[in-house]
Symmetry: C2
Subunit: 359 residues, 2 copies
């Protein structure tokens, strides 16, 4: 339970009802000129992250998004433009606006194309942060499809054998529907750890384990850094050569290729902080086989995994999406914990903008 | 250079011209009843692995494939059957024959569908070993497409937090074409290490590093095992909870879902040793953007990565496909090294079958 110190609790956070948080995020975004429809999409995705325990991508980020809109980094209102399109593919421009809006549209178009032709795929340029990448496959799963999404980012992770940041944390998300069991919802950074976890460790004042980051000399770095620069880098998943660092590195480049090169928006080394290109895919299960049979096999697989004997000291074997679903059940019933400092920031931001305070 | 002891050299192998090896593999397969067209496909893929330095998936395996054909484990001649098909999707049955043959057809169909509609996807049931999974994306790359392939396998890897084998090593391969630089060809097992590397360590009589495998009690296992069973398991990529073992585990299940559940052929826990279900995808780059522009951006990315300062003691930063391309250049010119014991086995097998000996 080594990461427990990164979790929110009654001492470091305030519980807020989900619907109030949704309203709060939406009105703050509208307060800086975001059209209501775009603000609602963004609020829904940010709230989903907070509900599912993905604090780093949750509602607390609305403050910086609203600042990016105000200072012109994000173009709002934005126009999401179709640059090229075929039966199964679409290249979108996010119009340098809210990444959420274009990623949501990209997955909606992927789903519509998959319904007609079996598979749908979007890649999106001129984009920004899309939040929790696992949200988008969930849109496909709700339609009895397999969903997949990736997003690239500016450089923070070293290549295998390299000692400088060259690749983003470039997450991969994948979802597939189950029947009686919970849906399989998988969302991973291709670095050893998500960058938000390092920022959270810094805010909470705790050290990082060896293996998350290195200095420019390749020595382990355990003091969390809040900055980005050439003098330190996160490790790719796998960590060392012998344990497979070339795998995390290769996966990160796969994300760069599908998001950045296929869209033309740029790979990690070409991106500024806050720029993110995105890729989505939907696969209509029914085009391959009976959906109920698919789900029954998913259930069998998930049950077999849950019944696996654990490593010493562990409670149970989990399947991707289990911890998030546990968080969601609790938080829908008992409110969503918002970190104390973020709670104050969100309220202050709402008051400064003169919009209603819901939390 | 910790894995150098796993490499072939003049003392432990014999160099053979590539074309002789191709002929040798093909005639051995034909000698046990494989149709010539199927034998040629299989020989090409096995030779490609040996040329590219992927010894574990190379020509040496022809002996056991020919035995599996003789004892009826593989149904040969096989019929690859289309079970369901749409504009962009196809579900194939491998007919319990050579996995190579159906995987090759699956990728050919994915490419043809992508040419028409942008994306093509196949999933394949009733299958066996497909060899080096990275071969199949290379077929798409040769057509100026992005290619992807995965294959699942019987259980050998533990889930994160679990202490028994439940997931296969389930590799993921991805390829994208570059312009002046070498193509990006990425091929990884979702375990810390490919199972063939453990078998190779055992054959060479060397210990495994801590992090590759555990006992049923969750203790590190360093003595390579040749068997499969409940009393030891390989680690998922990431190794430990803190270093991201849930990521390798989740990727392994993604492979199980696309290969085993989407096809209906079965996930890892349902498969016997030697059964493998397969998934392929091709993406036509030209449907999104100009192919030359795509390749020029790939070149920029690859050059930036190659120029990254290294960790202390490392020569250069590599990009996926670099080591394999180096091997291929050398081996096309100077012959393909075949491990001494495998060289003897292949010759003995050819003589026993009464087919021509080319090596």
């Amino acid at each position: 339970m080594s990461l427990d110190y990164l979790k929110l609790n009654d001492a470091n956070s305030v519980r807020v009802p989900a619907e109030n948080l949704h309203k709060q995020v939406s009105v703050i975004l509208q307060g800086v000129g975001t059209p209501q429809a775009h603000a609602e999409i963004t609020a829904e995705i940010l709230l989903s992250s907070s509900l599912r325990g993905v604090e780093t991508h949750g509602v607390g980020n609305v403050v910086r998004y609203s600042e990016s809109i105000e200072d012109g980094t994000y173009v709002v209102p934005q126009t999401v433009e179709v640059i090229s399109e075929t039966e199964t593919t679409v290249l979108l421009s996010c119009g340098n606006g809210l990444g959420f809006v274009a990623a949501h549209q990209g997955m909606e178009m992927s789903i519509a194309k998959a319904k007609k032709f079996g598979v749908g795929m979007s890649t999106i340029r001129d984009g920004h942060h899309i939040g929790m990448v696992g949200y988008y496959p969930m849109m496909a799963v709700a339609e009895d499809m397999i969903g997949m999404a990736m997003t690239n980012a500016s450089r923070s992770v070293r290549p295998a054998l390299g000692a400088r940041p060259r690749v983003g944390t470039n997450p991969i998300a994948f979802g597939a529907p189950a029947g009686d069991e919970r849906d399989f919802i998988f969302d991973m950074a291709t670095s050893t750890i998500a960058s938000g976890k390092i920022a959270l460790a810094k805010r909470l004042g705790v050290q990082m384990p060896v293996g998350w980051a290195v200095t420019a000399e390749g020595e382990p770095l355990t003091e969390p850094r809040g900055d980005r620069g050439e003098d330190w880098a996160m490790n790719p998943l796998g960590g060392t050569r012998e344990q497979g660092s070339h795998k995390g590195y290769g996966l990160g480049l796969m994300v760069d290729i599908l998001c950045g090169v296929l869209s033309g928006g740029g790979f990690g080394m070409q991106l500024a902080g806050g720029e993110n290109m995105t890729w989505t895919m939907a696969i209509d299960i029914a085009k391959f086989r009976d959906v109920d049979d698919f789900k029954a096999m998913m259930d069998d697989m998930i049950r077999d995994l849950h019944s696996t004997p654990t490593l010493p000291g562990e409670d149970r074997v989990l399947v991707a999406g289990d911890p998030e679903a546990d968080f969601e059940d609790d938080r829908l019933a008992n409110g969503v914990p918002v970190e104390n400092s973020q709670y104050d920031e969100i309220r202050a931001r709402a008051m400064a903008l003169g919009v209603e305070v819901f939390i």
